[in-house]
Amino acid sequence: MTCREFANLMDSYLKEEISPKKRELFEVHYFECDNCFADLKLRERLYSKEVPIVLKGKKPFLVWDLKPLLVLSSFLFVVILSLVVINNYREAEFLDGISNVEPPAYMQSETRGALQDETFRNAMSQYNNKQYIEALKLLNAVDPSSVNPQVLFFKGICSLQTNDPKSAIKRFDVIIKNMNPSYYDEAIFYKGIALLRLNKRKQALEQFNNLASMFSPYSERAKVLIGKINSW
């Protein structure tokens, strides 16, 4: 056995994990080789556990040391995440509560961009009876290309009332973009409401602030909503 082979087997020998065949060759070697026996003896002393190994001073960085830190940070992460989720949920609930406003009623006497169409009248009859899905179907039949501001506005309201705020926003945006005076203020107000339903607080505030700065019958309602939103 060479000294190199011997060196590789020292720990196995002392732990008695060496094969019987190699064991005798190993033993012969340490009887003959002073240098290898010195190495073996040193290891034997360490295995004897009679030599205390005292650690002092600054402890080196151990991955194991991270364990409590990892547990703590994971715990904190879960707590923070839970708080964020709860807060978001509560905020959504709050915004949803604020956005719970009555839809504007349709008056037969309404003249702004009015259509004197039988289907439209039926649609608005359904609307006033809070049958928004039916109303929406009929309104789509009246004005499939969505150009009439009155039809567009009530379509938007119907979408809002049927829990489809995204479609409502698209419809209100057409009115706002065209700056059609007939339903411009209402479109901004109800777009703000639709944004609240989508928990888009900042964007909703923009709409209401815009409205509050205008001379509009909706300004006061917008201010009230701004106050409520900011109270969160």
Partner: protein, 192 residues
């Protein structure tokens, strides 16, 4: 220290100093051999004595031609003594008989080893203090806690190779410290 070249000649001339030199050199090896081969014995004193008794008898009978044959010869005897221990039930009688015949020694083999170990432990402990903390942790995990290289590597977040290399380097440093005091530790003698 006298040269090993003349050890056989000096032993043939019944030089006491040569006998002590030889016993000091092989005592630890024989004890380690017996401890790992024969378990559960309170004392191995008689067995070691039998080995040396047989060896000195062999020297007297000119069975060992030169120094190079000493170690294999002693190992052969140790092995035979071990077999005798296992296969012959009248161990104590045989040992007593051989001891009376060939070798009379007041040498306390186990006590000598204990003192030697004690001194070595002190030197190892002092040498250990000079090591970097990470080396101490590696040695502690490996030898005191008997963790494998893989386990120590996981604990320290390093590769197995890194752990093995650092362990060997640390042991070499300790060994060098021991060798500096080799007059105290006959066991660590080596020819330059």
């Amino acid at each position: 220290m006298k040269s090993n070249n003349s050890l056989i000649e000096r032993l043939k001339q019944n030089e006491k100093e040569a006998q002590t030199e030889l016993i000091k050199k092989f005592n630890s090896r024989i004890l380690l051999y017996f401890r790992l081969r024969i378990k559960g014995e309170e004392s191995y004193e008689d067995l070691v004595q039998e080995v040396f008794a047989s060896f000195f008898k062999g020297v007297g009978n000119d069975k060992i031609p030169e120094d190079a044959y000493i170690a294999p010869f002693i190992f052969g005897i140790a092995k035979r003594v071990m077999f005798n221990f296992f296969y012959k039930k009248k161990r104590s009688e045989n040992i007593q008989k051989k001891s009376e015949e060939n070798f009379e020694s007041s040498y306390d083999f186990e006590e000598a080893e204990r003192l030697e170990n004690e001194s070595m432990n002190n030197v190892i402990q002092q040498a250990m203090q000079k090591l970097p903390e990470v080396d101490k942790i590696i040695l502690k995990e490996f030898y005191l806690k008997e963790n494998g290289v893989g386990d120590v590597a996981s604990i320290l977040g390093k590769s197995r190779h890194y752990i093995s290399v650092r362990k060997e380097r640390a042991l070499k440093k300790i060994k060098n410290e021991i060798l500096k005091q080799k007059d105290l530790y006959n066991i660590m003698q080596r020819e330059k």
